[in-house]
């Protein structure tokens, strides 16, 4: 699949945003969040900036962004529509909760905890919907599997917790629980990612050139001539292929930068303390961002669509 910049940015940024937002609310409800207005403000602002920028960027690749509102109509069948609806809905409870947290912390605590809970749930559902856009695409073997929704949720948790951690650190707080959470999420996501790649490398789509053409009973099927000598939309969009060597190198970068280095940096920061802690935590975010963008790029680039079977791919 063609790795479109806007879509990569959308899934990584909004994922991190929802992760951070959900954690902020959870921490507050759990009473673990420091009572620091500017910290909270920065937290909510960062979440919303990430979420909104992500959502906006996802409309950039639309042919008709001005009609984007129509995408809210088909929630009964379309995960993309559900995601849109959820994204908008999520602003409500989380926004309410955020306003409450920042400005009216004492108002209706019980009710607001409930609202917060709904918000957290909405964040999770939104991320899940995003994941399901991909996971529901049967023609893409790399996506239509249980790893994908789990991965989206894990990555949201991971990026959100690493962001929260560095926020806390930057404001001079160091919450062990958050550190633990971040490290645990990083490790869990790492395990997930490795498992996902194993899955990818050891399985293939149930569709083959033989099933795509129905000619299997006559022998093995190989493309002789494509319909066009130059690439068409389908090939540009869905026929994207990455060389194995290239992919292996990128996987290393994704693993290193996305998961391993952030763990090390967080731990090293913990050991260093002070300014070192701040620097290491911020660095962890930057490194992680590079790693996750790479991971996301690979998520598309390594995904093969069944349409490739009609254009010479030996498997999908």
């Amino acid at each position: 699949m063609h790795p479109a910049k806007s879509v990569i940015f959308f899934t990584t940024a909004s994922g991190a945003g929802y992760g951070l937002l959900a954690l902020l609310i959870a921490a507050t409800i759990g009473g673990l969040f420091p009572a620091d207005f500017w910290l909270a403000f920065a937290g909510y602002a960062l979440s919303y900036v990430l979420i909104t920028a992500g959502l906006l960027s996802s409309t950039f690749h639309l042919g008709h962004p001005e009609r984007a509102w129509r995408a809210l109509t088909q929630w009964r069948s379309s995960w993309l529509s559900r995601e849109g609806v959820m994204a908008i809905f999520t602003f409500l409870p989380t926004g309410l909760y955020g306003l409450h947290h920042l400005f009216f912390p004492d108002l209706l605590p019980g009710v607001m905890a409930l609202v917060g809970g709904v918000g957290i749930f909405a964040c999770i559902v939104t991320v899940y919907c995003t994941a399901m856009i991909y996971a529901s695409l049967k023609p893409v073997h790399a996506w239509s599997n249980g790893y994908v929704p789990m991965g989206y949720l894990l990555l949201a948790l991971m990026t959100g917790s690493v962001l929260l951690n560095s926020l806390l650190v930057a404001f001079g707080y160091a919450a062990t629980l958050v550190i633990l959470l971040a490290v645990a999420a990083l490790v869990a996501a790492l395990i997930w990612k490795v498992a996902y790649w194993r899955f990818l490398d050891s399985t293939k789509s149930i569709s083959t050139p033989e099933s795509a053409t129905g000619l299997g009973e006559f022998g093995s099927v190989k493309l002789f001539e494509a319909p066009h000598t130059e690439a068409n939309y389908l090939m540009k969009e869905m026929g994207f292929q990455i060389a194995r060597k290239h992919a292996a190198a990128l996987r290393k970068i994704a693993l290193g930068a996305g998961f391993i280095l952030p763990v090390i940096l967080i731990l090293v920061g913990l050991y260093l303390g002070g300014i070192g802690l701040i620097a290491a935590s911020l660095l962890a975010v930057i490194v992680m961002a590079i790693g996750i963008v790479t991971e996301r790029w690979l998520f598309f680039a390594e995904a093969r669509h069944t349409v490739g079977l009609y254009y010479g791919a030996s498997h999908a």
Partner: protein
């Protein structure tokens, strides 16, 4: 469908108004000439579909035809006459007015005509008006005229016309409805583009026939063949002769057919060394003699004669004679043609050859067809039925484009004659005006040319013996292309591929004006592109061009335009009158005679003129007889449409056969009819006269048909057309070479003529093989195929077609590629003895292991066809033509023959031998050789985006939507195979279908 009215779906308009006008005309996206219905909206083409009533295509339309919109919309359309301002080849021009262009051309031509008209070489390419252009040349007085047939498929035409009085090409077709066994040799697309596709569809759907394709490549038609035989190029003759060997040995031949309809029984004089050797024994009146079982010799005309096909007889002269059949049988029964002996060379296992022979025999004789159609033979003998041998064959350029193609094609015809399958039910069927006598009609004219004098006949014809050659006293060629010379005696279509070289070399003559029309001779239709470019641009020491003046007419910005001094821009096929005439290359089918017109349905909107109008205008300016009245004014002031209606070649016979006579009731014959074109237009721009069942088969000996043919002017006399298994004409040339007769070849050509003028089909290795066998190693054969969706060079300016093929790889067998470490996408050098060209490899399996191939005419010169910089056609696409030589390697004395068949002069494109090697990594990326870009010829830059049709969407109509209906491809055939399917012809109107049933 019973119900099925589309409910109104507010989201889609199911009943838009499609067009404001529908006009019929004839497609010219290729030479097949299908009938089309053009939907027009706001004077733009909205949609083109096949004309369901048209005899050629019955409603279907191929990819090219469907892309007509984009041909009309091409940014490469020339806009105005052009006068060269730069050097030849640069493509720098200035636009001039038509008057200036025509004055200039008239001046050049006038001078030539006043001196020696033969100093004009007038050659046309995609000939659809050859009877007109040939007549123009005749009236001008030059013998140096031909069309593209010489480099195309004259081997097929000549071999057919000298053997069976008709030919493959598009002049005959398998009996698609009845054939049980269809052998196709070397056809990728053919001129009969849609008819062949329709026929194959029918035949395969019927399911009771076997289709065998003999072709080094398994693509296109070969992919749907029941059996594909991946033959080694150039060896089909051997393959066919081995089949003949098998059939003869098993006596699976049609004795009666051979006796009645061929010259198998004619006695051939056997008198080695004498002047009559190998000629037919004749009585005093010249009638051939045959022998009867009791040993009597009777003239063929004796109705009582029941001739025998074997034996040895003594003639009154004392000479011995044997029936032609026996000579034939002796030759092919020889062990030389045993399948075991030929298998390795042919690349087909002996047991397969034997099996194919057995299958042919089984289909011909065990599946014999009998139609209860009484008919009368030419001699008035009533026949009760029509016997059919349901084996049909078709062959084209895979046979034709080899230097042994004439004989190979003749061998195929011999095979057909042996099993009695020509023009019989289930066999190969002639299309009118064929069959004609073997050889047909006129001799080539132009023995003499004189200032300001027309020729005494049409420049192209069919020599019947050495006397008819166009050679001087010393035996040297008279024509610029050396056609009808001892080198290529039966070159019935000329040798267009030799013209530019010979004009440059001044051999056999110099010319002043080269005038070409509709042939991309500066590129894909020349063998040897690099040298052709050199010939066109080479200068004499005084700085003038060796080929002094070059006038060219094209409709588009082709490569050849860049070399012309004066460019006469033509219209597109939707903008002019054209005439598809029975005098020329008609569109008849085996079911009847047909001709057609093209009518202008769009205004050009540019300053271009139909070429035929221009030729008429030039004729008037030059005061050519037949073009002007006595007072010097135009005889056809209305232009070409005027000519089409009023011109008569012989009294009452003109370009069009339909609606003749003042009242329009004449068919084939009749006075000019002022309303003729209207009648054509009203009938969808074509005319068809169907045969009665009685006239439909055995046309060569069928009284009813023969009389009709005389009436229509196709035959001079209603006598039979005797097919020739043995060619006396060929023997006459051989005798001359052996020292007999008044006209003999010069000594240096005696051996060549004697060798190749064998009265019986012969196989010899293609010439290129002979040299390669001596030389360093060109183990591979290289051939091209036509893509079904591209017509030679024109497709690449077509925004839709070029999206299908914008570059061409070189296809190789995967095993062979692996040996050479070549992978898909690698760049390779293809080396021939003549040069090298770089291409990108594509591996496949369905190809003869020693053959590589590519799609023809995709490669383009940079800047041509108004394509933009970087167009893959110019950077990745390539032509094999760069490495084909138009000349054979020098003979011992240095003389070089054309790379052509020695009988017909047919260009031997597919003789090409090559080797390949992988390029160094640094050489990957672009094809070579690469020429500088040619100039844009004042055309506007092509658009970056095309939104054609955005403004042609229809308004909703007030009519209620209608029920849709089932539509089954090949309905009738499917109905026979699967129960419950409504019979019918998917591709025809119900009206027509009803009529046919009646």
């Amino acid at each position: 469908m019973k119900d099925g009215i589309a409910a109104r779906d507010p989201r889609v308009d199911t009943s838009p108004v499609v067009s404001d006008e529908v006009k019929f005309t004839t497609c010219y996206m290729c030479a097949c000439r299908c009938g089309i219905k053009v939907h027009l909206k706001d004077n733009k083409v909205r949609y083109i579909e096949g004309n369901p009533d048209h005899p050629v295509n019955r409603g279907v339309l191929c990819a090219k035809g469907s892309a007509g919109i984009m041909q009309q919309n091409s940014p490469a359309k020339l806009k105005k006459p052009l006068l060269r301002v730069g050097e030849r080849g640069e493509g720098k021009f200035k636009e001039i007015e038509w008057d200036e262009a025509l004055e200039l051309a008239t001046g050049w031509l006038q001078e030539v005509r006043g001196d020696d008209p033969a100093r004009l070489a007038f050659f046309t390419g995609r000939d659809q008006s050859q009877s007109f252009t040939g007549w123009w040349a005749k009236q001008f007085g030059t013998r140096n005229f031909a069309a593209h047939g010489g480099f195309c498929s004259v081997n097929m035409a000549a071999a057919g016309l000298y053997s069976i009085g008709g030919s493959f090409w598009e002049f005959g077709e398998p009996d698609w409805d009845l054939t049980k066994y269809f052998l196709m040799f070397g056809v990728a697309e053919d001129h009969d583009s849609n008819p062949i596709k329709m026929g194959l569809g029918k035949l395969k759907t019927r399911g009771d026939a076997k289709f065998v394709s003999v072709n080094p490549v398994r693509s296109g038609y070969s992919s749907i063949a029941d059996e594909w035989l991946g033959i080694t190029p150039g060896t089909d003759g051997l393959f066919v002769m081995a089949i003949i060997h098998e059939l003869l040995r098993a006596e699976k031949i049609d004795w009666e057919y051979l006796k009645r309809y061929t010259n198998a029984s004619w006695l051939v004089v056997q008198a080695e060394g004498e002047a009559e050797h190998g000629l037919f024994a004749r009585n005093a009146t010249g009638t051939p003699l045959v022998a009867t079982p009791d040993g009597k010799l009777l003239p063929l005309s004796d109705r009582k004669a029941d001739p025998v096909l074997v034996g040895s007889y003594t003639l009154p002269s004392g000479q011995t004679a044997v029936p032609a059949f026996q000579l034939m049988a002796e030759r092919y029964l020889s062990e030389e043609y045993n399948p075991d002996a030929v298998a390795a060379r042919v690349g087909i296992e002996a047991k397969t050859i034997r099996r194919i022979a057995a299958e042919i025999a089984e289909a011909a004789f065990e599946q014999e067809i009998t139609l209860d159609i009484p008919w009368t033979d030419w001699a008035g003998r009533p026949q009760q039925k029509m016997i059919g041998r349901p084996v049909s064959m078709h062959a084209m350029r895979g046979i034709s484009a080899h230097s042994n193609g004439f004989h190979t094609c003749r061998a195929i015809h011999l095979l057909q004659m042996l099993i009695g399958s020509i023009d019989v039910p289930g066999g190969f069927r002639h299309k009118p005006p064929y069959p004609k006598p073997c050889p047909p009609g006129p001799l080539p004219a132009g023995q003499e040319t004189a200032a300001n004098t027309p020729l005494d006949g049409m420049p192209l014809g069919f020599p019947k013996g050495p006397e008819d050659l166009l050679v001087d006293e010393a035996g040297n060629p008279k024509r610029i292309d050396k056609a009808y010379s001892w080198e290529y005696p039966l070159s019935a279509h000329g040798l267009m591929h030799s013209v530019i070289h010979n004009a440059w070399a001044g051999e056999p003559q110099e010319i002043d004006v080269l005038f070409m029309y509709m042939a991309n001779m500066g590129w894909n239709s020349s063998m040897n592109v690099p040298d052709t470019i050199r010939y066109l641009t080479d200068k004499k020491p005084d700085g003038s061009y060796k080929i002094p003046k070059f006038i060219y007419s094209d409709a588009y910005h082709s490569e050849t335009v860049a070399f012309a001094d004066l460019v006469l821009p033509d219209t597109t096929y939707l903008e002019r009158w054209d005439c598809i005439s029975l005098l020329d290359r008609p569109i008849s089918s085996a079911h009847g005679a047909a001709d057609a017109i093209r009518q202008p349905i769009l205004a050009p909107g540019r300053d271009v003129r139909p070429f035929q109008d221009v030729m008429l205008d030039l004729g008037v300016r030059l005061s050519l007889p037949g073009f002007v009245t006595e007072d010097g004014s135009a005889l056809y002031p209305g232009g070409y449409s005027d000519y089409i209606v009023h011109h008569e070649r012989t009294p009452d016979i003109g370009p069009l056969g339909g609606w003749r006579g003042e009242d329009g009731s004449g068919q084939g014959r009749g006075a000019a009819n002022e309303a003729q074109l209207d009648a054509y237009i009203a009938n969808g721009c074509f005319w068809e006269k169907k045969f009665t069942p009685e006239q439909s088969y055995y046309k060569f000996a069928n009284k009813s048909y023969l009389e009709e043919a005389v009436h229509m002017g196709w035959l001079a006399m209603p006598g039979p057309v005797v097919m020739e298994i043995y060619s006396e004409t060929m023997q006459k040339f051989r005798l001359a070479a052996e020292g007999h007769g008044r006209r003999q070849p010069p000594d240096h050509l005696r051996g060549r003529v004697a060798d190749f003028f064998d009265p019986l089909p012969l196989w010899y290795a293609p010439f290129a093989d002979a040299d390669i066998d001596k030389g360093p190693g060109y183990p591979l054969h290289a051939v091209t195929q036509r893509p079904m969706h591209m017509y030679h060079s024109w497709g690449s300016q077509n925004a839709w077609l070029r999206q299908i093929t914008a570059r061409n790889p070189i296809f190789l067998h995967a095993d062979m590629a692996r040996e050479k470490d070549i992978a898909d996408g690698d760049w390779v050098w293809i080396n021939s003895p003549h040069g090298r060209v770089k291409a990108q490899a594509k591996l496949m399996r369905g190809v003869n292991r020693n053959t590589i191939w590519t799609w023809n005419a995709i490669g383009k010169r940079k800047g041509a066809w108004n394509l933009k910089e970087g167009a893959p056609e110019a950077t990745k696409g390539f032509l094999l033509n760069h490495i084909i030589s138009e000349l054979l390697p020098p003979r011992e004395d240095g003389y070089r023959y054309s790379n052509s068949d020695p009988v017909t002069g047919q260009a031997a494109w597919y003789d090409l031998r090559v080797n390949i090697e992988k390029c160094a990594a640094a050489e990957f990326g672009e094809t070579e050789p690469m020429y500088d870009a040619q100039g844009p010829a004042d055309l506007d830059a092509p658009p970056d985006i095309l939104r054609y049709g955005a403004d042609l969407k229809g308004e909703e109509s007030s009519l209620a939507p209608v029920a849709m209906k089932d539509w089954i491809g090949n309905r009738a055939e499917n109905a026979a195979g699967a129960t419950g399917i409504a019979p019918g012809h998917g591709n025809q109107t119900t009206e027509r279908h009803k009529k046919e049933k009646e």
